[in-house]
């Protein structure tokens, strides 16, 4: 349980948000060209990192907007919040 600083509404309880999982997984531009392995990679395979993870959240019980979060999954500390379409901060790896 933690607070998330929504870039549109400010700091709110995590229970107002829904997690969208790993961020920056790009939808394939030409799905018909993909092999089964590439589809599996896109649909199912996840880094599931213990440590610093880039992820998407939706303020589902608030403004209902999507945004990105950098969070350390080993202690739930949020390190950075940035909007959809923005480049991820480079100081985290």
């Amino acid at each position: 349980m933690f607070l998330i600083n929504c870039p549109f509404c400010g700091e709110r309880d995590q229970s107002e948000f829904s997690s969208g999982g790993e961020a920056h997984i790009v939808r394939p531009k030409q799905p018909t060209e993909l092999s089964d392995d590439e589809w599996a990679e896109y649909l199912f395979m996840r880094k599931n990192i213990k440590g610093i993870q880039f992820e998407r959240w939706n303020h589902v019980h608030g403004c209902r907007k999507w945004f990105n979060v950098v969070r350390d999954t080993s202690n739930d500390k949020i390190l950075s919040v940035y909007k959809m379409g923005e480049k991820p901060p480079v100081n985290y790896k």
Binding site: M1, D13, Q14, S15, S18, S19, G21, E22, D36, D37, W39, A40, E41, L43, F44, M45, R46, K47, N48, I49, K50, Q53, E55, T73, S74, N75, D76
Partner: protein, 417 residues
């Protein structure tokens, strides 16, 4: 067995003030090389080592555990055991485990306190009723005992349930598997550890895996906090940390690790003699032999390795418990904890080879792995020893995420996720 436990050994040791009990398993330093290494000393890992030694005659094996054995999800779950899954593949897998449970105390000469007190799954709306009835039919076609109970029969089986039609999620009926029940979680880990250790398996605690050494497409050994250990067969049974180990070998798995919580109340006199689960409202309850109510909650929705879980999840679970069992309204909760569960997209496990030779994974058990402990160990041991899956775990391969042949138990198996 060197020190067989029996009523006579109990009397003998009682006469000597219980000071002469032998250590149940050894505490060796790792050797330089093993024929196979199991990563993860929980119930599944220890069971795997036990069956490798017992059925496949592989004696030079080690189990590496970064903490203490049975200290992860084996010691953190709500100990529910059942096999009433919808799909044929799952029914085969979980009922194989249930059959092994039925004889496990005798097999291990260790009382795992397996109690077939029945598991009842409640239906709260018309769709639940349809789904659960369909599941009882599917179970019976697979030879798994299952009955449908209407509201009056539910009330008769578990009189403390509030079956009033006026509650928010009224009880419209439920399914009952009488062979299902609970077991003592620590005893399972300890019993398998004792049995494996007896056959020469090295159980190495406080030994964390730091890296996997590869030579091309095959494994050569493990870097650990106790040095490099050579082996050409590695079985990973690391539950919530499976992805962490997979990343060491350059593999990605279709898993997300999330906290799942449970809590226990103060101990009270016997009040509920079965296990009642309700996946619509995310509340499971049973009573331990000490008298504590054992309550299971849902998972958090986000990836986390914190072994804590959110308060709002506990609050929602307890709200549901109180509506279903108003008699518990003054109970005090004593302890709350979380475990990290590795969830697959289809809510079924992976017991599989990988495309790296000698590297095997047993993971993805998600919120319900405890019930499968003996079956999982047996089938994973078979997979490692023969480099081929047993027919019961053939469907649970890693390749199903490429082929699309998923075993989709999400929502189908009375599983709450």
């Amino acid at each position: 067995m060197k020190n067989k436990y029996s009523v006579f050994s109990l009397i003998k040791n009682a006469l000597s003030q219980h000071e002469n009990w032998q250590q149940a398993w050894g505490n060796p330093e790792p050797k330089k090389e093993y024929d196979a290494i199991i990563v993860g000393g929980g119930g599944h890992g220890l069971a795997t080592a036990y069956y490798l030694a017992k059925k496949h005659n592989l004696k030079n094996i080690a189990v590496l555990e970064k903490g203490w054995i049975g200290g992860g999800n084996t010691g953190r779950n709500t100990t529910i055991i059942r096999s009433n899954y919808l799909w044929d593949a799952s029914a085969g897998l979980y009922d194989h485990a249930l059959k092994l449970w039925e004889n496990l105390s005798q097999e291990l000469n260790y009382n795992v306190m397996f109690s077939q007190r029945g598991v009842m799954n409640l239906a709260h709306n018309l769709q639940d009723v349809r789904d659960l009835k369909r599941r009882t039919h599917a179970n019976r076609l697979n030879g798994i005992d299952a009955v449908w109970l209407n509201t009056e029969e539910v009330k008769k089986f578990c009189p403390i349930i509030n079956t009033s039609p006026d509650i928010r999620y009224p009880v419209l009926g439920g399914t009952l598997q009488r062979r299902a029940g609970t077991a003592r979680h620590d005893a399972v880990a300890w019993g398998y550890a004792r049995g494996a250790s007896e056959m020469g398996v090295d159980i190495i605690q406080n030994c964390e895996v730091k890296g996997i050494k590869r030579n091309g497409d095959r494994v050569e050994g493990l870097e650990t906090t106790k040095g490099f250990i050579k082996t050409n067969k590695i079985g990973v049974v690391a539950a919530g940390h499976s992805s962490v180990i997979a990343n060491m070998a350059g593999l990605k798995l279709p898993l997300e690790s999330k906290p799942l919580q449970a809590l226990v109340s103060e101990p009270v006199k016997p009040i509920i003699d079965t296990v009642v689960m309700s996946n619509a409202v995310h509340a499971y309850v049973s009573q331990s032999d000490k008298g504590e109510l054992v309550i299971g909650a849902g998972t958090d929705s986000y990836v986390s390795y914190t072994q804590r879980g959110s308060h709002n999840i506990v609050e929602e679970t307890l709200k549901a418990i109180l509506e279903l069992y108003p008699i518990f309204s003054r109970m005090k909760m004593l302890r709350q904890w979380g475990g990290i569960v590795d969830i697959c997209p289809d809510a079924s496990p992976i017991i599989s080879k990988t495309n790296i030779k000698g590297l095997y994974f047993n993971c993805g058990w998600g919120t319900g792995g405890f019930k499968a402990t003996p079956g999982s160990g047996d089938l994973f041991a078979h997979t490692i020893a023969n480099d081929e899956p047993h027919k019961l775990n053939a469907a649970f391969n890693l390749n199903r995420f490429v082929s699309g042949d998923l075993v989709d138990e999400h929502g189908a198996a009375a599983v709450a996720h």
